[in-house]
Symmetry: C2
Subunit: 248 residues, 2 copies
């Protein structure tokens, strides 16, 4: 599993197509991921057509990968298919609620990540688009997603046309807790973030953005409270509109 240790996100792709048979094989492997009650509460929409990519692009802030990747995959929570089956079999489905929004998200994301691992093993590169949940309504419209279907993540896929440096990660002890969650003291935060803050590219990042600390680049530029709250509201409205109400 050398790929898992050396992997990095790929944002520039060759023009080379991804063969349909290869894509199907990777999707078959994705469907072998764990799934709640073997219900497979997810769907995947495959976008290859340039006009359809252009329809999705604004929702992803027109990031170049949406246009240049040969394949764009939108992974969706899907309780529509299962509920349809229930209705046709004299069974009353009860999956239009928040629990199944989250359960479907787990299902969809395990399949998505399995796809990515398998794709990278085959020499493909991938990029996740976190923008999927920022303003899901345009994606719902573009892909014509019915009630109880919700886009949870998007992956662009293609043969790499770049070999970026592998980014840093926090030391493992920042992430892993032994038996009980160990809350973070100031000293521990300083130690755990020291390497990240010492990196030349991160220091440049602070200077380029005219900030005093790396954290301020995140809070004042990249992911601001104001944006977060706007996106939260749009997401929440879309979740309810697609039928996943927290309360009856």
């Amino acid at each position: 599993m050398i790929t898992l240790k050396t992997r990095r996100t790929i944002r520039k792709y060759q023009a080379r197509e991804v063969a349909p048979d290869l894509l199907d094989d990777l999707l078959q492997m994705a469907c072998r991921a764990s799934t709640v009650g073997n219900m497979q509460t997810y769907s995947v929409v495959v976008t290859r057509d340039a006009a359809n990519k252009a329809k999705l692009a604004p929702a992803h802030f027109n990031q170049q990968m949406v246009f240049t990747a040969p394949v764009v995959l939108t992974f969706c929570i899907d309780l529509n298919r299962f509920s349809r089956w229930c209705e046709l079999r004299d069974a009353v489905p009860g999956y239009d609620n928040f629990q199944w929004f989250v359960t479907g998200a787990v299902d969809a994301l395990l399949a998505a990540q399995t796809f990515c691992v398998a794709a990278e093993e085959q020499g493909l590169g991938i990029c996740y688009l976190g923008t999927t949940t920022y303003n899901p309504q345009p994606i719902i419209d573009a892909l014509q997603l019915p009630r109880l279907v919700f886009p949870i993540t998007t992956i662009t896929v293609g043969y790499p046309d770049e070999t970026p440096e592998q980014p840093d990660r926090l030391p493992l002890e920042a992430i892993v807790h032994d038996e009980i969650y160990q809350d973070y003291t100031s000293d521990r935060i300083d130690a755990l973030y020291a390497y990240k803050e010492s990196l030349f590219e991160n220091k440049m990042y602070v200077v380029e953005n005219g900030k005093e600390t790396l954290a301020q680049v995140f809070t004042d530029v990249r992911y601001t409270q104001k944006d977060n709250e706007l996106f939260s509201e749009a997401l929440w409205e879309a979740v309810k509109k697609q039928g996943f109400n927290p309360k009856k």
Copy 2:
């Protein structure tokens, strides 16, 4: 990637321990998964101690895997660590909202599934516990999770002591949509679920539960509307209590 095609969930484990170095190596690979803005908005709590497993077990309906697996991993959305860092660096964090609940869930689940793929490549077996989001409060209490930390899934890990049959999956065309979501007609549902419904074990499942259709086993026995709505409300209350409010 033969493992990805042949894998199956493992619920019975040998007494053999998982070596700490191997576990660390697998967790390191998990941390190489894609993560929003390289923020790593997740934590993993490792439970090996029998007394601590017993504390977690009731939240998972006392499923045997929680007691018998040598390692239980609770993957958590974590905006606490990042927010603490911000506060210590003169930056005002704005991650206590629904958008970052979902974003943190994506992060945590990509790491969780990468862990599972890597673990299975090493001969380990895993089982996801979907019960994690049914009633998260007891897990929050047992693991002492602070505000902005939320358990999104749990994985039991160990060396397999069983070789179950690989379960069926829906045909790929049930899951994958070409360019636009193709809603399901009755005929298509019949065709897509025919194989699943034809399986001997599923037919037995219907008989054993005294039902008329397989779908009714799901709606009337396994995941009832009443339970779903109760669990939705408990989940929703816990999401809010941990600080991920949809609106200010």
